[in-house]
């Protein structure tokens, strides 16, 4: 399959206009010894029908959520995506456009980002939001860098219950900058708060808390905010935006920078990406916020319109003095989240959150009633919870998988001390019947 338009006659006319006899001649500036003098070793091109059959063949090798019941989250969540989200995203004027450099012909993208920024501010209780970041892990990392730059301090204290892959990402970025990562230990399913002063002093730029945390528990953001503010540092909160119809906004609880992954707002699981990193902060940090930001202004006739603004922060202007190198972001994913939130509205978002809350608590109760299953933590949780099992988790999960159920994540993968612990996720997607099926098979009854 080819997408090349020229007929032989047209090509000849073009070559003649240029003044060369063949297209090969246009590559004469590439030194002979650097030329690839053999064909690229890729398979021969295929017509579209054959390509479709090949990608289908690969896709059919995978088991997907249409044919198994998902009780696993850990940073990637199955929620209901209204059909309208996908249909609006497939409008080519949105998805085939570039970054809105020419505002007069990009008002669609620009206004949608302005609406997205507003939604993120409303959910998080922050003053400003950027136009998106790659994912939750990278947004969190850049938030840590913002805090380091804003406070001119060189240590960051991060909870052991921030997603392990987010912490690893942060480590990758920060170690080259000489920033020290201090890990706050956990106890009872929450970030330990009884001995904070041995970890957080006036050299710490920020305390980073995820809530709901990796174990699903809801952290007392206010407590950590108060403590770190007392030491002159910032509170960075990493949150699940879908929970914010039910849970208090981190801004109200004292957070200075709020980040997270917006995958839960209408984006498919897609094997971990593309997702949506969001970043929001208090007004006073706006000039340190990385990435694109859209602002409202007027045109020459006084009509309102939108532009990319505060660009003096960015790499294409400031080069090595920019706070970040980000250029491409996740604009289409941000659009998906905006459409999702507009379709659900405040009531719909609260309803989705409430169903996650109720169904996960129902599932927890039912599982706790099984012999050999205990609930190790009493902390409040949103849609994920930890269970401890007498039977090996791998055996339970194998039994579930054979019955078409993806069970909880084995926590020892990230927390070696937690043998026999599973992290179970129950979103609004699961019906009572499906939860009961989980409990039944888990208990050994196929």
């Amino acid at each position: 399959m080819s997408f090349l338009p020229h007929t032989r006659e047209e090509e000849n006319a073009m070559l003649q206009a240029i003044g060369v006899s063949s297209a090969e001649e246009l590559f004469r500036d590439i030194p002979r010894e650097l030329r690839l003098n053999r064909p690229l070793q890729l398979p021969a091109g295929l017509p579209e029908k054959a390509v479709w059959e090949e990608v289908q063949r690969l896709a059919e090798k995978d088991r997907h959520t249409d044919n198994y019941l998902c009780f696993r989250g850990a940073g990637a969540y199955e929620h209901y995506q209204p059909s309208a989200v996908k249909h609006l995203l497939s409008r080519a004027d949105f998805y085939t456009a570039y970054t809105p450099y020419q505002p007069e012909i990009s008002q669609g993208t620009l206004q949608a980002i302005f609406e997205y920024q507003t939604c993120i501010c409303e959910l998080t209780g922050m003053d400003v939001a950027n136009a998106s970041h790659y994912d939750g892990a990278t947004a969190l990392t850049e938030a840590a860098i913002m805090a380091v730059e804003a406070t001119r301090r060189n240590k960051v204290a991060v909870s052991a219950l921030v997603h392990p892959e987010y912490r690893e990402t942060m480590q990758t970025y920060l170690k080259r900058r000489g920033v020290e990562l201090i890990t706050l230990p956990y106890a009872d399913g929450l970030t330990a708060s009884n001995d904070l002063s041995s970890y957080v002093n006036d050299e710490v730029a920020a305390v980073i808390i995820q809530s709901p945390n990796f174990f699903g528990s809801i952290e007392d953001i206010g407590l950590f905010a108060e403590f770190v503010h007392g030491k002159g540092g910032l509170l960075v909160a990493c949150v699940d935006p879908l929970s914010l119809g039910v849970l208090e906004s981190p801004g109200r609880l004292g957070a200075d920078i709020v980040v997270g992954d917006g995958q839960s707002l209408g984006l498919p699981l897609s094997f971990g990406g593309p997702y949506l990193g969001f970043m929001a902060c208090k007004e006073k940090y706006v000039r340190r916020l990385p990435g694109r930001i859209v602002g409202k202004t007027v045109d020459r006739s006084g009509r309102e319109g939108f532009v990319l603004t505060l660009q003096a922060r960015e790499q294409h202007i400031r080069r090595e003095k920019a706070g970040s190198n980000i250029c491409s972001n996740q604009a289409l994913c941000a659009l998906a989240a905006t459409i999702y939130l507009s379709l659900l509205g405040p009531d719909g978002l609260a309803e989705a959150g409430k169903q996650c809350l109720q169904k996960s608590h129902f599932a927890q109760q039912r599982l706790a009633a099984l012999p050999g299953v205990t609930i190790p933590y009493a902390a409040p949780f949103f849609q994920e919870f930890v269970v401890k099992t007498a039977e090996a988790p791998a055996v339970i999960n194998q039994r579930l998988w054979e019955a078409g159920i993806l069970g909880g994540l084995e926590l020892r993968r990230f927390y070696p001390e937690l043998e026999n612990h599973l992290l179970v996720c129950v979103t609004e997607m699961r019906s009572r019947e499906e939860i009961e099926r989980l409990v039944q098979v888990w208990g050994g009854d196929r």
């Binding site: 246009l26 890729l42 990608v55 959520t65 696993r72 012909i105 604009a331």
Partner: protein
């Protein structure tokens, strides 16, 4: 203009997407401490589905995409995005798989990723590829971190300087700074290539890497690349290839054969995945064998005895993760689909026609515009308007006037080294009529500049808004809607 969606909101309107709760409705206060419960609902829009659909459909019509028309935005490679790419990424076997489901149940996804890595490695002449970076700049950061890890592992701890030419993308120096390196900028010579004397003076025992785009942002092939590589390698530094301009050279020459040690690819440029109004992109990174141990984890392995793909987390020398999970997988599916369609020969032909189109358009445009650096060009070229002093018409005016003629303007005022630059990249998927018509529009605009400068100063005339006040936007930032 369209009202904001918040201004269309009516309290009480909503859609119903979920069935009623079918488990016991426990009072929320019993499940959560009051302090954790939301007191005030977020002011999200309250609308019916049809209202939301109309709102965003109308917004989409205020946009301009590749499907709308010609988009010669230099360095961005706005080629046609085949429709089958979208369908492939939406297959449930790709879009509805959890990143932590058993590895045996995602063999199709892993096979697709492994094959994509192999194809990219072959195209660039590299030994190994990671798909984890989410965008070009993210790939750059990954690449520089790999290079620093390599030097560190050799105990070569002095190397902290990254050299970039003055024609480089802004992401290059910004990346090096983000990775904690210092930046040395070297000037270009009169032909637009790297000034070798300046490069020789810049390298030393503190050189970590040189970052280079080839062809350069002027669209010119850097013919001295072998010498450049020798200079940097002799000093103990490594060469980083910014793959933004890969669309010019596929099947003709390979960064690996030019002497580059690390390369990033922009799948959203060269490999036809759509840009989405700013993303998501995907920025895989290829490396030579000596850098492979440092690749971000996990790495996809094929296990011969069990004949299946695995995700290897045991990578003691890895730089670590650069994001959660495995990269922008959905974007990778689209690029893979594209490579299957074109095959090796088709990719080479795509580059050939991209270069043909660029040279043809350059020939047409240089009748009325100046070419500060002579070609032949590769996939793009940089021109400047004539007589800006007399006419008072600048590049921005020309760009805005092009909008009235129905085109997306080229990249403007970049590279920074060219005063009044217009950077034009037609791509291979445009036909001759489009190029001829665009050239005619540019000729007409050159004439308008001489005869009626006001027309250009006030352009665009046919858009829903005219030129917007960017100074006011930055001086008094209004970055969100607020309830009255």
């Amino acid at each position: 203009m369209e009202k904001l969606i918040f201004e269309k909101s009516v309290k009480g309107r909503k859609g119903n997407y979920l069935p009623a709760l079918d488990v016991p409705d426990c009072p929320v206060e019993e499940l959560l401490p009051t302090a954790f419960c939301r007191k005030e609902a977020p002011a999200l829009p309250q609308l019916t589905e049809v209202e939301v659909v109309r709102h965003y459909t109308r917004l989409s019509r205020l946009n301009y995409g590749v499907d709308t028309g010609f988009y010669p935005l230099g360095s961005c490679t706005m080629k046609y995005n085949p429709k089958i790419n979208e369908d492939a990424a939406n297959l449930p076997g790709f879009s509805k798989i959890h990143p932590y489901q058993p590895v045996d149940s995602v063999q199709g996804a892993l096979e697709l990723m492994a094959k994509t890595q192999a194809y990219l490695a072959e195209i660039a002449g590299m030994d190994a590829v990671t798909l984890q970076p989410a965008a070009g700049a993210h790939g750059e950061l990954t690449g520089i971190l790999l290079i620093m890890a390599y030097h560190t592992a050799r105990g070569d701890l002095k190397r902290n300087k990254v050299i970039v030419p003055d024609s480089s993308h802004g992401t290059n120096p910004a990346t090096a700074a983000l990775a904690g390196c210092q930046i040395i900028e070297v000037p270009s010579n009169e032909k637009g290539g790297v000034d070798l004397a300046a490069l020789r003076a810049a390298v030393g025992e503190d050189t970590a890497a040189l970052m280079l785009t080839n062809p350069s942002t002027l669209g010119l092939f850097e013919t001295q690349i072998k010498e450049i590589a020798e200079i940097v390698h002799a000093a103990g530094g490594l060469l980083y290839y910014d793959g933004a301009n890969m669309n010019a050279i596929m099947g003709y020459t390979r960064p690996g054969d030019m002497g580059f040690d690390v390369v990033h690819f922009n799948l959203h440029k060269t490999f036809s995945t759509p840009h989405g109004g700013g993303g998501p992109g995907s920025g895989p990174v290829g490396v030579k064998a000596m850098l492979e141990p440092f690749l971000p984890k996990p790495v996809i392995l094929y296990d011969e005895p069990t004949q299946r793909y695995l995700l290897d987390e045991e990578r003691p020398q890895s730089i670590g993760r650069v994001k959660a999970f495995y990269g922008n997988f959905g974007v990778v599916v689209k690029a893979f689909t594209y490579m299957l369609m074109l095959g090796g020969e088709g990719l080479k032909e795509a580059s050939e026609k991209a270069v043909l189109n660029a040279n043809y358009l350059m020939t047409l445009l240089t009748e009325h515009y100046d070419l500060p650096y002579a070609g032949p060009c590769k996939h793009e070229f940089v021109i400047t308007p004539r007589n800006t002093q007399q006419t008072g018409v600048h590049t921005l005016d020309i760009a805005k006037r092009l909008i009235d003629y129905g085109y997306h303007p080229p990249t403007i005022y970049f590279p920074l080294m060219v005063h009044e630059a217009l950077m034009v990249e037609p791509t291979e998927t445009e036909n001759k009529e489009t190029l001829d018509e665009f050239a005619a529009a540019m000729t007409a605009i050159a004439r308008e500049a001489e005869e009626n400068a006001e027309l250009l100063h006030d352009a665009p005339h046919l858009t829903p808004v005219s030129r917007l006040d960017e100074t006011q936007a930055a001086r008094k930032p209004v970055l969100r809607w607020k309830a009255q």
